[in-house]
């Protein structure tokens, strides 16, 4: 049975249009997410020596948690470690730009806050940084979403989003959930 070359060409064209359409839809989804929801691969490239994090200036134990910097920026520093986050609860204000900075002394971890654009891997040797603005108040779950070892499923932190009026940092700009740990 002879097949007409023209018919084959038409069929190929139709399939090419289908594939082209799928590529177009995916590209527009990426574009929409990136521009309107600020969801994009975090592109911060900043190094941090995992061996000496605990003796470093920024990620030393006493410096972790939420802090309002002198210039008014809200920055939360969190260590992801086998198998918990330090601190495992952070307080942030609703409706204000918040910068979350993560790093790890051991293995690859990941974090995700459902319903927000906070979603990044935390890779040893690098600082993972996310800019966000929380709109809903309440306790949000921030689980580790990159398998990191046997205690992975117990590795969950809380992001406590409070109304701007209830966000009252201490004189040094720090604010923590409940009792501060003996440091």
């Amino acid at each position: 049975m002879a097949i007409d070359e023209g018919a084959i060409l038409k069929s190929e064209l139709r399939w090419a249009m289908v594939v082209g359409g799928i590529v177009l839809v995916i590209l527009s989804a990426i574009l929409f997410a990136a521009l309107s929801m600020h969801i994009n691969p975090p592109s911060n490239r900043e190094f941090a020596d995992p061996k000496t994090l605990h003796t470093s200036d920024e990620f030393t134990e006493a410096n972790l948690g939420t802090r309002v910097e002198p210039d008014g920026k809200v920055v939360a520093r969190i260590i992801a470690t086998q198998f918990n986050f330090v601190p495992d609860c952070i307080v942030v204000p609703a409706g204000r730009d918040v910068t979350l900075r993560f790093t790890t002394p051991d293995v690859i971890h990941g974090i995700l806050v459902a319903g927000t654009n906070v979603n990044t891997m935390i890779v040893p040797g690098y600082v993972a940084q996310v800019h966000t603005r929380f709109t809903r108040t309440g306790d949000l779950m921030m689980p580790c979403h990159e398998y990191c070892g046997l205690g992975h499923s117990q590795m969950i932190a809380t992001v406590r989003v409070v109304p701007p009026g209830a966000f009252r940092p201490a004189a040094d700009g720090r604010i923590a959930c409940g009792e501060r740990r003996p440091a």
């Binding site: 590209l27 574009l31 521009l35 330090v86 499923s153």
Partner: protein, 289 residues
């Protein structure tokens, strides 16, 4: 010769690999258009990734369009944010031990013969012959050299305090600490089987030790406290450890009295455990060998 010419089909002078001439003519515009479409898709993709998205995000991070595009292309290093001001907080490390190559080399070179001599002189009276002790003095046989070195170094630096150990560790040099650590680590294989004690088999406690508790965010003890599973390298092996000692340490962590656990992992976990659970876990680990 004749056989070979037979193999070449009569295709009107086109090379054997190619399609017939009329089909090639039919394909030509299609190939042209396909190339244009692929090139166009690449161009559009590059435009989106390197110009459009950086342009949309530049304002977010207070960058100029040029800077944002350069960073997206990887020409300029940096992030969509400026370098963060390093906190003004003073670094007050809980422990000064960091596992850099220099320390690892010291441990690798730890002379266990010298360690044996120091151990016999200094350690044996409390920690027992070959590191097998009783009651609230920790047993050292079966321990990893990193765990022993970390604790000795912390006693030396003051990150951990003990009426006797602080003085002992300060009297030893750093290579001596490594030698002692190497000695007790080597002693483990020979003596690890000694000391099988009463087994505790409470279901809840065993579950806590083996699986942890997700609701209370308590990771399983054994996700770190076994050789080579997880957690920091200095995590001690606690199986077969004396229960009085284990309980005292968990209580000290919970109250914040002991704080040389980097990033407070054990302070956090101990505080989440009830006093009864701490006691049961201490018994469980003494008995599990």
């Amino acid at each position: 010769m004749a056989r070979q010419t037979d193999l070449v089909p009569d295709d009107g002078g086109v090379s054997p690999a190619g399609a017939p001439a009329e089909q090639r003519a039919l394909d030509r515009p299609w190939r042209l258009w396909a190339s244009i479409i692929v090139a166009g898709a690449l161009l559009v993709g590059a435009l989106i990734g390197f110009v459009l998205i950086p342009a949309g995000q530049a304002g977010n991070a207070n960058l100029s369009l040029y800077e944002a595009v350069c960073r997206a292309l990887g020409i300029r290093s940096g992030s969509p944010a400026q370098v963060q001001p390093v906190s003004s907080a003073v670094s007050v490390p809980v422990s000064e031990v960091s596992w850099d190559p220099a320390v690892m080399r010291i441990l690798a070179e730890g002379n266990s013969r010298r360690g044996a001599a120091i151990a016999a002189q200094t350690c044996a009276s409390c920690h027992g012959d070959k590191g097998l002790s009783q009651s609230d003095v920790p047993a050292l046989a079966g321990q990893s050299p990193y765990a022993i070195y970390k604790q000795l170094a912390d006693y030396r630096s003051g990150a951990r305090a003990h009426p006797q150990m602080t003085g002992v560790a300060k009297a030893l040099s750093v290579p001596d600490l490594a030698a002692v650590s190497a000695y007790f680590a080597a002693a483990s294989k020979e003596y690890a089987a000694i000391g099988a004690r009463d087994l505790v088999s409470e279901v809840e406690i065993e579950r806590l030790a083996r699986e942890g508790n997700s609701r209370r965010r308590i990771p399983a003890c054994l996700s770190c406290h076994l050789n080579g599973v997880g957690g920091p390298i200095e995590t001690p092996v606690i199986i077969g450890q004396n229960d009085d000692y284990l309980l005292a340490q968990m209580n000290a962590y919970a109250s914040g009295q002991r704080r040389n656990d980097v990033y407070g992992r054990m302070r956090d976990i101990s505080a989440k455990l009830t006093p009864a659970e701490r006691a049961a876990l201490a018994r469980y680990f003494q008995g599990t060998l």
